[in-house]
Structure formats: C-alpha cells, structure tokens
C-alpha cells in the first residue's frame, strides 16, 4: 500500500484490496499447512488438514476467477493479520511437547485461521452483491461455505475426542 497517498477511493477499490488480502492469506495458509499436517498426531486431524490443503488450492483458483471477472491483476497484498495468526500458531506449536496437547493447540490455531477467512469472505460476499457482481459473490460464497464447514469439523474433532483425551 502507498503510504503517501490515499489509494482506496471507492467501494470497488476496497473490494479489490480485500480480495488481494485474502489471496495473499490463502497462499500463506497453503505454505503453513504441510507443517501442521506433519505435527498432527490424530489420524483424523492429519487427514482433515490434508483435505483442507486441497480445498485451499481450490479457493485460490476461485479467487483467480474473481480477479478475472473484475478485470484486475491477480496479486496479493501483505496481510499482517494472517501473518500474525500463523506466527502465533507456529510459536504455540513449538511450546508443546505432549502429542495430545499439541493436537488441541493445532486445532485452536487452525480455527483462528478459519475464522479469519470466514470474516473476510463474509465481507467480500456482501460487497460483491452490493457492487452488483453476483457472479463474484457466488464464487466467494463457495469458499465461505467450505471454510465454515472446516471450522465445524474442527470443533467436532476438538469436542469429540482430542481435547477430552488430553485433559
């Protein structure tokens, strides 16, 4: 972002900026997931992260379509929010030795990531509709639905077994 000018003049600019923010975030998540897969002990958690890695690739592809619909270059902008969330996930995982406690920490970290994506996609869907871009809204809604489903699966994993074993 430019520090000496106000770069965002319209809702359309704000939409494109936020699209670039989540595009960057999805790429960072894609980079972070293999490490989380490696650290996870529970087979269900490991396979849940693997599934999500595949979905993340799909989200990136949908975002590319939205950039195309909007006629703007597909590129990311640094997103300090996801950088902070992933940094925290990495730090906490480094602090935990016990495998079941580590799984609980990994689930919590993954849910923080999901909630960041849920809020951004929720905002983007609303803005796309208001800008009269129902085509973009439909694609973004698909990403939102998958993030919501992943968050619910993680809650189920957490309350259904992993945390209980570790407590």
């Amino acid at each position: 972002m430019g520090w000496f000018s106000k770069d965002i003049a319209t809702m359309d600019d704000l939409f494109v900026h936020t699209l670039r923010d989540i595009y960057y975030a999805e790429h960072q998540i894609k980079k972070a997931l293999p490490d989380m897969i490696e650290k996870a002990t529970s087979p269900e958690l490991k396979s849940g992260f693997e599934t999500h890695l595949g979905e993340t690739e799909g989200h990136i592809q949908r975002l590319k379509q939205v950039f195309k619909q909007h006629g703007v270059a597909e590129k990311g902008v640094t997103c300090p929010a996801i950088d902070g969330i992933l940094k925290e996930a990495d730090e906490i995982a480094g602090e935990v030795d016990d495998k079941q406690v580590l799984d609980a920490a990994l689930i919590a970290a993954a849910q923080a990531v999901e909630h960041y994506e849920i809020t951004r996609y929720g905002t983007l869907v609303a803005w796309a509709k208001q800008l009269g871009r129902d085509d973009s809204a439909a694609l973004l809604q698909q990403n939102l639905d998958e993030e919501n489903a992943t968050d619910k699966k993680l809650t189920k994993l957490a309350t259904g077994g992993i945390n209980r074993k570790a407590a």
Copy 2:
C-alpha cells in the same frame, strides 16, 4: 514464551496460556477502539463502537475472575495475531478518504477482531468444560455471547445501510 524450553506441558497450561493471549488481546482492543470511534462517520457505527468499548472493559473484568478461579497471575502474553489484525485495520483506515467507504472498511476491520475473539473464547469455553471448570466456562461463555452479538450487529450495519450507501 520461553524459546529454549517447552513451557506448555498439559491442557491446563495451554488453557492458561490462551487465557493470557486473549487478556492481552482485549487490552489491545481497548486501546484501539477510541481511534475507531473517532474515525467512524455513521452515528450508529460510532455508538456501536462506544458500546463495545464498555463491553470490552467488562470482558477484562471477567477474565480477571477466571484468573482468580484458576489461582494464576493475571497477565497477558504478546499475541501476534491480534497485533496483526489491528495493524491491518490501522493501515487500511489510513488508505481511505471517502467517509462512507471508510465506514465500510472499519466494519470489516472490527469484524476481523470479533472473529478472532469468537474463536479464542469458543476454544476456551470448550477447554474449561473439559478441565471440569464450569465456573470459568460460564464466565467465558458470557464474553463469547457478547462478541457474537457484536459481530451480528456489525453485519446488520454493513448490509443494512453503510455499504449500500458507499457502493
């Protein structure tokens, strides 16, 4: 956090660590809100942020009670996630000139903050129950309920008027 030892051995340690994380986050949010109140143009948004500032003080008080129930010192640990979310909120607000676009950006930023709190309180409530601390779970649930309500109010503000005017 200590970089040369694994400081989190049990679910109880993980619970206390995460409690300190959200305690720090609530304090940072309390510091950031006055600036957001000042920047907001819509009277409903301004008053929504003011209400939330009062609630944030209440959340901090409840967290102090949870620390007491747990018999551990009330203190924060640096939380890179909330630091990143608030940094991004500050940056984006600096990029926007138009008052209605700025309101839309402020709502999106505030919802990212709410979602971070929602995920952390959701995790803490689950862990408190699993640790047999229903007293702590009840207090944390009250914070969670208020964050959820704030997020819903922000969505209503966004879709009910502010974004529509700015688009």
